[in-house]
């Protein structure tokens, strides 16, 4: 499998604070990679820097072999990186349908030429079809999370960045989200970089990276995740 994204010696600062330290990481097509670590170690910062919300101080972010360090978030999105942020960030006063349509902005021609929502979205998240005309801000947390993932998938991304998708979500919806993510990896062959605390979801990943104090301190196959690693790096 070819590498979708490859990060070399990435350093990120918030003002004077050194947040990410010499991060090396890669994700291949059709692979789910999980980043684990306790709160405040820099997991969200890592995803924000990959989508372009934070400027890179040093190091390289290569996507499909091209250096994207200097590209804006919308340019990275059009290249094929989709981002599902912590807290969902759906557009509250737009309807569910309009929120979904926004996901197609990163396709060639953008929203102006792509208005038909692919039926596979409703197969993954049937509840969204029932609420198409409802305002996004009026959905429950779990429904908003499904909307956020569906919106990201409509852009037909090559790489999906998921930031704690199960945070604050009721257990039955967590299972729906887990099965949807694993299904799209199998069917669409996209790569997923997942930041997660929920152990069951972490175990679905192919590989893991463990973070501590802004750096990667351990990595390997998820099947090798021992009880020691879990208790050390997961808030469970």
């Amino acid at each position: 499998m070819s590498k979708l994204i490859e990060i070399k010696s990435l350093n990120i600062f918030y003002g004077e604070s050194h947040i990410l330290r010499d991060i090396d990481l890669s994700v291949k097509a059709g692979e789910m990679v999980c980043v684990i670590g306790r709160n405040g170690v820099g997991k969200t910062t890592l995803l924000k820097s990959l989508i372009g919300l934070l400027k890179t101080k040093s190091g390289e972010i290569n996507f499909l072999g091209e250096n994207i360090n200097r590209q804006m978030p919308h340019q990275r999105a059009r290249k094929g990186i989709a981002y599902v942020p912590q807290g969902r960030e759906i557009i509250p006063y737009l309807t569910v349908e309009e929120n979904l349509m926004l996901g197609m902005e990163s396709l060639p021609g953008g929203l102006s030429k792509n208005k038909k929502i692919d039926d596979f979205i409703y197969e993954l998240f049937p509840i969204l079809k029932e609420f198409l005309s409802r305002k996004g801000g009026d959905l429950s947390g779990g429904q908003q999370q499904q909307l956020s993932i569906a919106r990201a998938l409509l852009g037909e991304p090559k790489l999906l960045l998921l930031d704690e998708p199960t945070e604050g979500i009721q257990p039955n919806i967590i299972l729906d989200i887990e099965s949807a993510v694993t299904k799209i990896i199998l069917e669409k062959g996209i790569g997923v970089l997942l930041v997660e605390q929920h152990l069951h979801f972490v175990r679905q990943a192919d590989r893991y990276y463990a973070m501590q104090r802004g750096g990667i301190v351990a990595s390997g196959d998820s099947s090798e995740l021992s009880k020691e690693v879990i208790s050390k790096f997961l808030s469970v």
């Binding site: 919308h74 960030e89 953008g110």
Partner: protein
């Protein structure tokens, strides 16, 4: 009942002027959150565009079409104010997003510059400047993609701007030579004369209506319907509404937020230009004509509920009807047996300027109880 109906008719006429003036501000201030104190001056540019168009249509070659100059000037005013708005956004506002106080001061400065500009610069040169800005901005959009993506694109842009400048200078000279009035700078007010078909009155349900007022109501209606359709039905409308609610996430979804800002501000400014056409039909046009409306516009947007176009519509007509009821003293006619102390108070406020004072005071009191206006935003997101 007849008096009340009369008041409603007059209120709608007054409210239409307020609405068309506030519509652009409802987008710029209501949706983008930019406090643009130069909005009144963008209206003033629209009013001057009507005046210039009128003089151009008096030329022998265009004389047969003179009756339609108002219709043409609506489009031209939208373009002129829109272009100036885009320049304003690209050069000043863009650097001040998230800094309301600095934006307020900067746009106030711009309003003074624009006022002085129309006093000191002949309108023919102003027209030439707008023509060159328009060509300079639009021409590169028609370049083939191959050129746009090449390293030499900046040289092509430079060439197009040089061409635009040349056309602008030639246009200014041509207008000066053909219409001497436009070749001289003047700080005196000018008058726009309505074409023959817009003069006189029309009778509706037993009430006589000046045709110019009716025309303003029609302009307002068309502007409101067009902007509502644009915001709700078009792809750009969805982008604009999305970016105004969550700029960062929209960027991550592939939307160029800078382009959306430019288009939103351009449309808001263009609508101010359309309002300028309406204002020019009501009285003389001068550098301060927009300043008379700016406070009223902000009041309308705030009373309606910031970010809510429906609220802006209700607030405009509400203020219009109240202005007529209080300012024309109609309340006394509708309720003749009013207690003496109350009738004296209402009589005191029964002039146009005092009615404005009364209405602004009432709005301030209303906002104490409903600070989010008539139609506040609702939903889980707001509650959280």
């Amino acid at each position: 009942m007849e008096l009340l109906l009369d008041s409603i008719f007059n209120g709608i006429a007054i409210g239409s002027v307020l609405l068309v003036a506030a519509l652009g501000l409802a987008i710029v201030f209501g949706l983008m959150g930019v406090i643009n104190l130069a909005h009144g001056e963008l209206m003033m540019l629209g009013a001057y565009t009507t005046y210039v168009t009128q003089l151009i249509f008096k030329l022998p070659i265009l004389k047969p079409f003179y009756n339609w100059y108002v219709i043409i000037s609506i489009f031209l005013a939208f373009i002129v104010s829109g272009v100036v708005g885009i320049i304003l956004e690209k050069t000043i506002i863009r650097k001040l997003y998230g800094s309301p106080l600095e934006t307020l001061l900067a746009t106030w400065g711009v309003s003074l510059i624009l006022q002085q500009f129309v006093r000191s610069v002949p309108l023919s040169y102003g027209s030439g400047l707008i023509i060159s800005l328009l060509i300079g901005m639009v021409l590169p959009l028609f370049f083939p993609t191959k050129i746009k993506e090449s390293i030499k694109f900046k040289y092509y842009k430079l060439a197009s701007w040089s061409f635009a400048t040349l056309i602008g200078i030639l246009s200014a000279e041509l207008i000066s030579s053909l219409i001497s009035k436009l070749g001289r700078a003047s700080s005196r007010n000018v008058d726009v004369t309505a074409p023959a078909w817009m003069r006189g009155q029309i009778e509706i349900l037993g009430n006589t209506f000046p045709k110019t007022r009716l025309m303003i109501i029609i302009i307002t209606l068309i502007s409101v319907i067009a902007i509502i359709c644009f915001l709700n039905q078009s792809a750009w409308g969805i982008r604009i509404r999305a970016v105004t609610q969550n700029r960062q996430m929209c960027d991550c979804l592939g939307i160029s937020t800078e382009k959306v800002d430019v288009i939103t501000f351009g449309i808001g400014s263009g609508l101010a230009g359309v309002a300028g056409v309406a204002v020019s039909l009501l009285g003389s046009v001068g550098p301060n004509v927009g300043g008379n409306y700016i406070v009223g516009c902000f009041m309308v947007v705030v009373l309606g509920g910031v970010g809510n176009l429906l609220g802006t519509i209700f607030a405009s007509f509400g203020i219009g009807i109240m202005t007529d009821l209080i300012g024309a003293g109609r309340l006394l006619n509708i309720w003749p047996n009013m207690p003496l102390s109350l009738s004296n108070t209402i009589n005191f406020f029964a002039t146009t300027s005092m009615a404005r004072v009364m209405i602004f005071a009432l709005i301030v009191i209303f906002l104490q109880f409903k600070p989010s206006g008539l139609f506040p935003q609702k939903g889980r997101m707001v509650e959280s």
